[in-house]
Symmetry: D2
Subunit: 385 residues, 4 copies
Amino acid sequence: MKSEDLKAVRAFVKQHLDGRYAELDAFEEKPSEVYERFRETGLANWWLPESLGGRGLSLEDGVELVNELAYGDAGVAFTLFISVLGTSMVELYGSEELKKRYLAPMAERGSFCATLGSERAAGSELGKIDTVVAVDGDELVVTGEKFFSTNTDFADFLLVVGRSAEDPEQSAMVLIPRDTPGIEIVKRWDVIGVRSSYTYQVSLKGCRVPAANRLAGSGLRLLEIGLNASRILIATTALGIARRIRDLCMTYAKTKPLRDGVLLDNPVFAAKLGQMEMQIDVMKSHLLRAGRDYDAVMASPDAADLWHRQGTLKSALTAKMFCGQTGWDIATVGSEMFGGLGYTHESPINKLMRDMRYISIVEGGDDVLRDLVFSRYVIPVPRRS
Amino acid sequence: MKSEDLKAVRAFVKQHLDGRYAELDAFEEKPSEVYERFRETGLANWWLPESLGGRGLSLEDGVELVNELAYGDAGVAFTLFISVLGTSMVELYGSEELKKRYLAPMAERGSFCATLGSERAAGSELGKIDTVVAVDGDELVVTGEKFFSTNTDFADFLLVVGRSAEDPEQSAMVLIPRDTPGIEIVKRWDVIGVRSSYTYQVSLKGCRVPAANRLAGSGLRLLEIGLNASRILIATTALGIARRIRDLCMTYAKTKPLRDGVLLDNPVFAAKLGQMEMQIDVMKSHLLRAGRDYDAVMASPDAADLWHRQGTLKSALTAKMFCGQTGWDIATVGSEMFGGLGYTHESPINKLMRDMRYISIVEGGDDVLRDLVFSRYVIPVPRRS
Amino acid sequence: MKSEDLKAVRAFVKQHLDGRYAELDAFEEKPSEVYERFRETGLANWWLPESLGGRGLSLEDGVELVNELAYGDAGVAFTLFISVLGTSMVELYGSEELKKRYLAPMAERGSFCATLGSERAAGSELGKIDTVVAVDGDELVVTGEKFFSTNTDFADFLLVVGRSAEDPEQSAMVLIPRDTPGIEIVKRWDVIGVRSSYTYQVSLKGCRVPAANRLAGSGLRLLEIGLNASRILIATTALGIARRIRDLCMTYAKTKPLRDGVLLDNPVFAAKLGQMEMQIDVMKSHLLRAGRDYDAVMASPDAADLWHRQGTLKSALTAKMFCGQTGWDIATVGSEMFGGLGYTHESPINKLMRDMRYISIVEGGDDVLRDLVFSRYVIPVPRRS
Amino acid sequence: MKSEDLKAVRAFVKQHLDGRYAELDAFEEKPSEVYERFRETGLANWWLPESLGGRGLSLEDGVELVNELAYGDAGVAFTLFISVLGTSMVELYGSEELKKRYLAPMAERGSFCATLGSERAAGSELGKIDTVVAVDGDELVVTGEKFFSTNTDFADFLLVVGRSAEDPEQSAMVLIPRDTPGIEIVKRWDVIGVRSSYTYQVSLKGCRVPAANRLAGSGLRLLEIGLNASRILIATTALGIARRIRDLCMTYAKTKPLRDGVLLDNPVFAAKLGQMEMQIDVMKSHLLRAGRDYDAVMASPDAADLWHRQGTLKSALTAKMFCGQTGWDIATVGSEMFGGLGYTHESPINKLMRDMRYISIVEGGDDVLRDLVFSRYVIPVPRRS
């Protein structure tokens, strides 16, 4: 990554996000024009490979960028990076044809894709999905109800996981262009935080696509692989939000009167901020390492095979767990820092707290992740840290 | 307290609050008609003495009632009990005339009063207030800007703390009828939780009242004394909210599929709920004790003097600290229990979390209270527990 | 309880325990002469009923006494109260003959009894015990290996739980005099804290007693009932230790130089001690309530039946959980307070930390108790707090 | 580092430390022969530069080695790495002559050095030291009382910080050979953990050394610089101990009966171990990063100047804070895992808990470090993470 890229993102945050928290929290009807502004930086979908016209930035770079974006607004960050979940599956397991047809335009236009995994009765246990993928000649017909999927309404295409009509033990990941008949947006979810992002409940009724739109391999395994990048970047939003909370506290403490001085001079305040900074520093170390772990697999010529064997990356799991917990701890401290004013919508702290809450909830709660870490990385002795 | 009273409150909660969380969270323009309904129970302002036509219930009883009310809605509970802060000061330090004129109607009509303490530059440090109380013949003239005060707009009267124009070292607590010229509601605060309650910023411009409307003693000391009852009841709302969270979790767990069964059968869930129940049980023990501590002072014929010497009741401080912290811990666990749906406004959990947040913020944050406990109850060896 | 009793215990602590922590931590070969000194107060086995020559103090009184004793030394406190586990079973479920023969001398002489429940393969799951109680004419023959039992070597008698040789589904609680042939002390456990107490592994080889030495009812249920009093008093030791830690911190802070003053003036120190005092205050509220809950059942003429139906008292479980967790939190803060010196045996803090650790371990770890609270007090809706 | 080095350390741990916890915890009179055995690996003082005959391993390598050593025994690890505090100061700020005379033999013989900083009245505030360094012709005379210093008795030489007799505002770091007259070991501290290490109180009475034995620069600043490497490695011992606790838990859980199976199958156990593994993984990420941060400064040709400007490395502070806190959390969970047996000296868990406690205590408690992080790395905006 060139240092200009980071500067460009910082400038974008400063110009388009800073001070607009009320607006970004307002649950507006259409994606904000800030997404247009981000496209102008040339960094939209920064991870798409250069061979497809993208910037080809690594996930370690992505951690740096998302850290800055989430410092501005976590919902904007989420909207801007969550397509990586879908594109990474296409990049690894799609045909050259699919990549050219669907990823190249995303690189060029800075547009979005969406991944549709969870269903009402299949949240943390994706093995319970009911969406069906049936073969009909050289076409696939996809039918089902998907619960939470982000960016769907304005995405170029959807990646939908379903089970095979022919063999319910098999699952498939199918790329469905957004304009395919049968895709219906049931509703947009009224989420409590990251409210500048757009998450939908979606119905798929007999959506037909060419058989070649199915990615290679088990759909559930592919989803698991795709979640590695997105979990690391979701975890990274905790870092950006935490840094914003810290800076808000510092700004406030400089002028908040306390006894004969200001809050900044108070040792209890110093202790809280020292602890917060430590936590921020550790989050950053771990996120960058998780990014490098991911990049190391991707750098292999056998990346697709390696991922297939590996599935869930350990540091992706531990990053989301750690940053979700630590971020919440910071949000808790922050939310008590601003007195009564902090309990009103006049202070940004409560938005930051609500934004922070999503880290531990989306893409697997801690109970699910602890269980995964235990079964995949503690039971097998050589995989322990 | 007769057992019918508790039953009446439970019935009120069931009939008028249950299932209406969206509405109660909606920040409506006028106090909800639920306050009318509560009056019909005959329990409005349950603590007012029988000699003034009230029910004369103890604070220990109050803990039981607020526990039930907050199980229904914390904002409703807050609105219904917060007048105790003002009435207890009038009862202890007002003339018989004032009590008859102002408390008796509250008992009869189930109406409200408001206490105006904090100012923009005097939140946790009330010694910094700027509101001035000047003597003008046999009248007092009160002028100032008050930051957070609950129920003011629809209160019968206001209790305002200010410093004496004649001697800035002295402070006074003055009863000002709501219809006194010069009271201006600057705005209602857009709070993040307890949104069925009404908290205002208020301007007082030369409000004139008879000199007899001044309560006896230092205004700041009186405020400290009045806060004992309200802090205990604020702490109690944590208990009610926590019980609601527990019950929501149990209801959810009965039908939420997990592996081959439901969440209810999961040992990790059982461990979380067992811990939560322990915390609820301990909160209840401590709140009832704090109520009894308060009642014991009130039962003395010298209550006014005793309070004057004592000031802040230890268990009122420790109850607010403990229930604020423990309640937040429960809200944190609860807010991760409901998966993605819990991150939307379709689930009541996020309202409960926002409601819970107020316990540790209003009427003194934990930093302030820890400091008070230390200086008042740890430094003096015989006052240690 | 007469106020002289509390004074007598405080005087005992001051005279015989204060300043002797190294000695009391030394794992001496024989019970310290402090136990003789305690007998002289006339308060040994303070809970034994007056009808048997005891002091007949309530468990609420017991909480006050153990609080003081544990302030002196938790191991001494444990030794002095743990007989209650056995005597309460005899009092409730033994014949008048047994009570006269075994409890009356304990009241007179201030001697000890021991309860033998756990086995190597039956710690938290007592249903797995292997000790066998066989009927042989009008005698019982008891054979087995008991893992942890306190006071056994110098006890007057043992209460041993075993399963019936005739019907392995049935369990029995049998009183075995200490001098019965076949009792062998396998070893004394080298515990890490409460080292002035004496806990043994014991072998029982064909110990013969009259059939009348069997208490009425299921042995396992009786044990569960007996644990109520001991769990509350174990929890109470956390309170005593915590108060000692607080006072040690305060004493240290008065002379420990920090910058231009002493540690006592430091706001971070004040915040820690304010928090600690709050925790102590809440522990005390809950322990006294648990004591009263216990006393309320005991005050009933049907106490034996009531207990049989109730089994484990809710507040006994929650008190042990809460005080174990809160005490450990306080020990953690305390153990970091004394700098490098606190990491040596020259400071009592590390003994206090090791003593504190036992609260959450003996008589059921938190995992076991959380599970019990959940199944007994959360699942049944009316038993929720 | 060659992979054989890591293998050699693992073999050393397996052969000489595993299973000997009672012995290593026994506070033996003389350094154990395990130190001799470690010398045989050729890795003693692994960090000494190749130019002086050392192995020249980086601090990142050191983190890997200490992780393995502390998995074996934290006290042994501490003894083996703590000389780095002294040697790094000599390497950076000593003359070539001093390096050749004192560091080269340490590389050759695998011997030790000691650093003497703290005094009775100068623990966390080293600015308060009273030890005096006086110039007498071309000699220095050092006199003072040093409180905690590790390895001193069997060290080749001591690095002593004192204030200048001529200008008390100035401090000096002086190298004093162990056999210098006037060095008296007052006592060895009876520490509660890391008991295979040796920490002493030391008296210095008119110890004379050549003036050239003074290192260049402020003694206090040099000490601060030296602490960077040792704090990172102290933090690393938390990682090793934590991994050992995890593995002990797993071994225990495989055979510990629980209901119809073993503890390993219990979801609550899985959740605890999943959380623990996450914490271990994050500690490792951060420690390796701290090592690289340190190595990056050392790799500069201006390392001595860079350090002089930088002083305390941020990640050294945050690593010790984080690993101390996280390690204690793991020790707390671990210490409740083994039932009653875990409360006896028959289980290694309590030694591991006591060992773990030192991380947050030596070389600055968390209060001191939080304050340092705040003043050095939060107040200056560009140094925030």
